[in-house]
């Protein structure tokens, strides 16, 4: 029983095709709303957490405890004048922020969130190769960033885009290798090793404990994917003004801003799904999503702390890190997990 089938049963008089179509549509809407809501909560949380860490108070004037702050921000961004740089490449310039946000939300649809009472599973996609789909969607986001940087025809943006490309190449490989290790381990226990659902169900011991190196590599890669400090090489505010998003105004900039926080949230969700056991916990049948959210929440706080405590790494040092350290580590991790799977049969 999942959300999809519940929706489908509501519209079953319309026939097989239409009922499923409407059900998928409704589920997409639900997913979108959830994703947007989580982003708003994330940004609010970030501001409050940052303020607290810096011994400030943070937004508290707009609404009770400043809860309406983000709505005010969104309204302002909507009402802003939209400036297009004169020498832009029109199509990529317009498409870039949409790509970022599309990749983000599409990835949100794939995560298995666990069950809620009555509606059942919140999972929206029912493919058998969700791991591949997930990383395919996630790979769209950097394309948006690079397009944005190149199409604005600004030297800062261009440099930012170049850095973003270099960064993406150097962390993507170790990230994928560490995921392969997870898939390897789960393949010993389940038939659908490429399905996120079955990866979670196969985690009797969370893979994070079995693969400490893997979770480390994946953590670093997630920080790099979200591109916040220490790896915000594409944006790097004190060096390249705003990097690839320098020329963007209003809502388009808002999309980039949401993309940043969204990918932190997405990253922590994926991390908890792959390594920390996803929605496992007491009463997982009914409140599984709560456990997932708790894990993600703690991870998000860790990400924020990293963001606030670290200086920005230099681009060549980052490439060093990616190729000289993370890649060998992830290979070692792969070997270890292979030994664990075959040798001990864990």
């Amino acid at each position: 029983m999942s959300l999809l089938t519940v929706f489908q049963s509501w519209f079953s008089p319309l026939g097989h095709f239409w009922s499923y179509a409407i059900a998928y549509f409704l589920e997409a809407v639900v997913g979108l709303i959830l994703a947007a809501l989580s982003l708003i909560i994330m940004i609010y949380l970030f501001r409050k957490y940052m303020a607290r860490l810096q011994r400030r108070i943070g937004p508290n004037r707009v609404g009770k405890y400043g809860l309406l702050q983000l709505i005010a921000d969104a309204m302002k961004l909507m009402g802003k004048e939209v400036i297009f740089p004169a020498r832009r490449d029109d199509l990529p310039y317009r498409v870039a922020p949409l790509l970022v946000i599309f990749g983000l939300f599409a990835a949100f649809f794939i995560i298995p969130y666990g069950n809620i009472p009555y509606f059942g599973s919140l999972t929206i996609s029912h493919s058998d190769v969700t791991v591949i789909l997930l990383f395919a969607f996630m790979a769209i986001m950097p394309i948006g960033e690079v397009l944005a940087g190149i199409s604005s025809k600004n030297k800062y943006s261009l440099t930012g885009a170049m850095r973003a490309v270099a960064k993406d190449i150097s962390f993507e490989v170790p990230m994928m290798l560490s995921i392969i290790a997870v898939v390897l381990m789960s393949s010993a226990r389940t038939a659908n090793a490429l399905n996120l659902q079955s990866i979670i169900t196969s985690q009797v011991i969370p893979y994070g404990i079995l693969e400490p190196l893997g979770i480390f590599v994946f953590f670093v890669a997630t920080v790099a994917r979200a591109s916040h400090t220490p790896f915000d090489l594409g944006e790097s505010e004190s060096e390249l003004v705003s990097g690839f998003s320098t020329e963007y105004t209003g809502l388009r900039f808002g999309l980039f801003y949401m993309g940043l926080f969204g990918s932190i949230f997405l990253g922590s969700l994926i991390l908890s799904v792959f390594y920390l056991g996803g929605y496992h916990g007491p009463f997982a049948g009914s409140i599984g999503w709560v456990w997932l959210m708790v894990r993600a929440f703690i991870l998000v706080l860790i990400f924020f702390t990293v963001w606030l405590a670290m200086p920005r790494i230099r681009i060549d040092k980052f490439m060093d890190l990616g190729w000289k350290y993370l890649l060998p580590i992830s290979f070692i991790n792969l070997v270890i997990s292979g030994v664990l799977t075959l040798g001990f049969g864990w």
Binding site: T229, S238, P311, R312
Partner: protein
């Protein structure tokens, strides 16, 4: 080398890492900097001309705004020269108060620098901890003289108002908690691997180049020259207090960072001793006070140097017997320190340019005057 393929990038005048209004014309080969040309003058406020146009006591407000994060030191620098020209003695208590205020000012200045340097490197949080401490110093300044930043506290022949007992206890309270908090900030930086990689062996400044370019202050000391005006030509009562001159032989950005933090510790030490030794007595010389302020006449010429938080601040005053100085010339330390930037930043990356220009401690009121 072939310069045709180089990208020209204009950094500034408005740029988050230039600490004001510096413009850097940078020639880039990819990410590697091939040539830097600093363009200054975006904050040229003709302070020297205005000093010639106003009374001696009014000159102070222009000196306040030279190095606006350490205005007390600037004032003492001007008064060192002006009191020689005007033949006005400073009572002992005023000298000690000046020492206390200068050192507090130095701490405040270095704290601003540390916070801004963190922001340059992308560290968001130390900035706030630095400013919490700075706020405490500024509260002391407000108690002492009524203004936070541009204090105009010292006056010719002494100080403007006496130090109250209450303020002294507040300074003690500040000093009691300061070293611990400073260590915390220091560790936040220094215990970080990435910070290390961003600063170590970056922007190496050899000793002879530093002297040749007239670099002074923490930058020179980080290159291994123990030159500190407070020791070499003690002014005020610096000869009566014990403190060390921090020196590092490394000459890179990290060395400058460490030297500045050590200086803050030494400054706290000086303030402690000065508070203990603070004598009773008059806090100003009646010759320079009140309605006489606009009637003091100077003659002759004097050059004074003081150790500001950025380096050696020289003030050269030529008087002609009138109530206004004939010529005031300011040797601003940052002006000289900045001139070495093209040497430091050659063949580094953009990210290094940011950390190097951050380590110079630029304050544009002083560079452009």
């Amino acid at each position: 080398m072939d310069s045709s393929g180089w990208t020209e990038l204009n950094i500034g005048p408005q740029h988050p890492s230039t600490h004001g209004v510096l413009r850097l014309k940078v020639k880039l080969d990819g990410e590697i900097i091939k040539d830097v040309e600093p363009v200054i003058g975006y904050l040229h406020r003709n302070a020297e001309k205005l000093c010639e146009m106003s009374y001696y006591c009014d000159n102070l407000i222009y000196f306040d705004r030279l190095d606006y994060v350490a205005s007390m030191i600037m004032e003492s620098g001007f008064l060192e020269a002006a009191e020689k020209v005007l033949d006005i003695e400073v009572p002992e208590r005023a000298k000690w108060i000046r020492v206390i205020m200068s050192e507090l000012s130095r701490i405040a200045s270095h704290l601003v620098w540390a916070g801004a340097f963190g922001l340059d490197l992308g560290m968001l949080t130390p900035f706030f901890y630095c400013f919490i401490q700075r706020e405490k110093i500024l509260n002391i300044f407000t108690e002492v003289c009524g203004s936070r930043q541009q204090t105009n506290y010292m006056s010719i022949g002494g100080v403007y108002q006496d130090l109250q007992e209450e303020t002294i206890t507040h300074i003690w309270e500040f000093l009691k908690q300061f070293p611990e908090k400073l260590e915390e900030i220091y560790k936040l930086f220094i215990k970080n691997d990435i910070f290390f990689s961003r600063t170590k062996d970056i922007g190496y400044l050899p000793k002879d180049v530093a002297i040749d370019y007239g670099v002074t202050g923490p930058m020179l000391r980080a290159s291994g020259v123990p030159y500190d005006v407070r020791k070499d030509e003690p002014y005020l009562t610096y000869d009566k207090v014990n403190f060390d001159v921090p020196v590092s032989q490394k000459g890179d950005v990290l060395a400058r960072f460490v030297v500045r933090f050590e200086e803050m510790r030494q400054s706290a030490r000086i303030v402690k001793q000065a508070l203990e030794k603070l004598p009773d007595g008059p806090y100003f010389n009646p010759k320079g006070k009140k309605s006489l302020m606009i009637r003091v006449r100077g003659n002759g010429e004097a050059y004074s140097r003081v150790e500001s938080s950025k380096g050696e601040l020289g003030t050269y005053i030529v008087a002609d017997g009138s109530v206004r100085p004939y010529r005031v010339r300011i040797r601003s330390p940052t002006f000289k320190n900045l001139s070495v930037l093209p040497v430091l930043a050659k063949d580094t990356m953009i990210a290094d340019l940011v950390s190097i220009s951050g380590s110079i401690d630029l304050v544009f009121g002083e560079v452009d005057r």
